[in-house]
Symmetry: C2
């Protein structure tokens, strides 16, 4: 039996290299850049007006007499006609400044008389209300670095500098195999000794939460042949998750089946509660997470271990980890790390009731998991504890 | 020109009622329950063993002599045969206790001799290692309340108590109309006076970020007829977002077009930076957000106002609001609320450079928006400021 720390270390050591793929901007939402992105154009692509107003040459204006307004430049259009001294051109936000102009005065800061304008703005200066070509990003300049999360604003930014596709860290492929003779699929009548299958719903939703969709979800009978066949079918994914049959009971067939299918055991059993019988193995590049079947153990192992591997592939942090003060004293036995369902407030984190591994009523209203150290037993109100947000 | 506070108040006052719809559990991931959910079965559905071990009657055991083991109950099966005094049955985790048993001893805590077991566990007590029927949830009991966020663990919980569909607050339907004569669609050569269209990428990705997919995205020319036609086509959605053409320039045609299409103006212009020309109106149940076209103003108005309306419909909080200390002093002019692109650290929030509304390079790396009060000018390092996380 190994510690939680060692288990996490071994999982990371066994993760293969991230895969880089090219996606369109819309597809790349929420991904992490695997390579820096360089601007393909100057942005703005030309000196442009920042206001609706009048463009003129500051130097060629005598600062006393009105300017003669000749012509206008609407946004989206341009003019190649140089603007002579003491003249101005009507211009709109975003429109390119015509030749021989460098300054814009806002339309609110002039008095118009016929074809002339008198400038009232005492704060007008050379270059005022002009966005210079390349003042955001220059052609060829690095716009975003490797490792940058692509947010909506980031994608809009990249679109603006001419980018259409980006190279990002790919999401891993995942399959789920749920085992158990006691499982009834929703919609069927429940019979004696049986329970409704729920782990597939929890895992599929949890993957969805991080933007992943499993390649396959199989709910199978707890028979050696069924298990072997399902494992063999699914071993080509990056991450294979199994639930159930992983303890040391006479009918816990999963570890033996995994061995038979060529999976190398990395560890089996972790000093933790819930989820002590958690098994982790590898077959080629496929990581195999065999989770104890109790539903709270499944969800807890998913958030603590499977997400760790997903993050390795995608380079993304899915769930914030924080230190928060405990809302109440708590005592635990030594020897196991406890993962407890918690609820944060503005100031602290409360440990919910009903922490047993077969109960999900607390997990259903939890917003975080607390991680309480293996060796420690007494936790005092106000003491800082590690939490992992799960919403 | 109204304040940010008044703008938000008016938006909320104009939001129609939320719509309730029935979804399957997997579809309902991340939604908010519109009605409480009641358990359809006891869970566990029977008294079940919490361990691999032996079930017996505590009362009928003499506490001295070994128990005779007769038969076994595998998980998923059951037995109707009562277990006599001084006898036990082999049982596995999750299997139902047979008649006349109430206690389980773990397999690790016995010594087996032929067909008998000697119990070593001094901590065995009546009911030990037994999960009583209904000990998580009783048939008919309220399992989750109205307003509960449906998390992966919550959905697994509901599946376990026999639920297949839930009534949740529906997401609003959204359409996007991007206007501007200067806009070039990605992939086309950029010509003088033009810029690459990016607001649709930003808005579609931002909607995706909250699990919404727009019904329609149109990028149209800044011509009266085009604008009128697009608005008319899209006015059947819950939320219509337009960008561009909303200022007071000679070519800002959107407010007039909205009026012509029957949209009632609720307000136009907000005391804020960026996004001062922001317009909000309503036509029947359709909320109309006409955002100034500068890309940073679009994203900022989206996070501050459009998300407010989406949250009203879905009852969901998409972005955490926090108070964090400022990393540095900051001065602003009075009279406008500033929404500033920021980056949080563990301890504080830094205001990024390049805050102008035409720049997205700061927004692309920001993780939050700071909201600095209209009237206040001097902000000191360490002072708590309101922020809205946007990732």
């Amino acid at each position: 039996m190994i510690s939680v720390t060692d288990a996490k270390k071994l999982i990371l050591e066994n993760c293969g290299a991230s895969i880089v793929k090219s996606l369109t901007l819309i597809e790349a939402n929420g991904y992490i850049l695997a390579e820096p992105v360089f601007a393909l154009i100057d942005t703005p692509p030309f000196d442009q007006s920042a206001m609706d107003g009048y463009a003129f040459s500051y130097e060629n204006w005598d600062k006393k007499n009105p300017l003669l307004v000749q012509g206008e430049i609407q946004t989206g259009y341009y003019s190649n006609n140089p603007v002579p001294a003491q003249e101005a051109v009507r211009i709109f936000t975003g429109a390119p400044l015509p030749p021989d102009t460098d300054t814009v005065v806002m339309q609110e800061k002039i008095i118009k008389a016929g074809n002339t304008i008198h400038i009232l703005d005492e704060q007008v200066y050379q270059g005022s209300h002009v966005r210079l070509q390349g003042s955001q990003t220059k052609n060829g300049e690095m716009a975003l670095g490797r490792g940058q999360l692509l947010t909506p604003a980031g994608l809009s930014f990249l679109a603006g500098i001419g980018i259409q596709t980006v190279n990002v860290f790919s999401k891993p492929t995942v399959s789920i195999i749920v085992t158990g003779k006691e499982l009834i699929i929703a919609g069927n009548p429940i019979t004696k000794g049986k329970i409704f299958e729920s782990n597939s719903i929890g895992l599929v939703s949890a993957l969805q939460q991080s933007g992943l969709s499993p390649v396959s979800v199989e709910v199978i009978d707890d028979e050696e042949e069924d298990i072997n066949n399902a494992i063999t079918r699914q071993l080509q994914v990056d991450i294979l998750i199994l639930t159930g049959g992983v303890s040391v009971g006479d009918y816990d067939l999963v570890p033996a089946a995994l061995e038979k299918c060529g999976v190398n055991k990395i560890f089996h059993k972790v000093k933790q509660k819930p989820g002590k019988p958690f098994y982790f193995g590898r077959c080629g590049q496929t990581l195999v997470f065999a989770l104890p079947g109790n539903p709270a153990a499944v969800m807890s192992c998913y958030y603590e271990y499977v997400v760790l591997a997903i993050s390795h592939f995608t380079h993304k942090n899915y769930f914030k980890r924080l230190l928060l003060p405990l809302a109440d004293d708590f005592y635990k036995k030594p020897g196991l790390t406890y993962f407890l369902k918690g609820k944060t407030s503005e100031h602290d984190v409360a440990i919910l009731n009903n922490q047993e591994s077969y109960l999900l009523n607390s997990f259903a209203i939890a917003d975080c998991l607390l991680e309480l150290d293996e060796d420690k037993t007494d936790f005092k109100k106000g003491e800082l504890v590690n939490i992992c947000m799960i919403i």
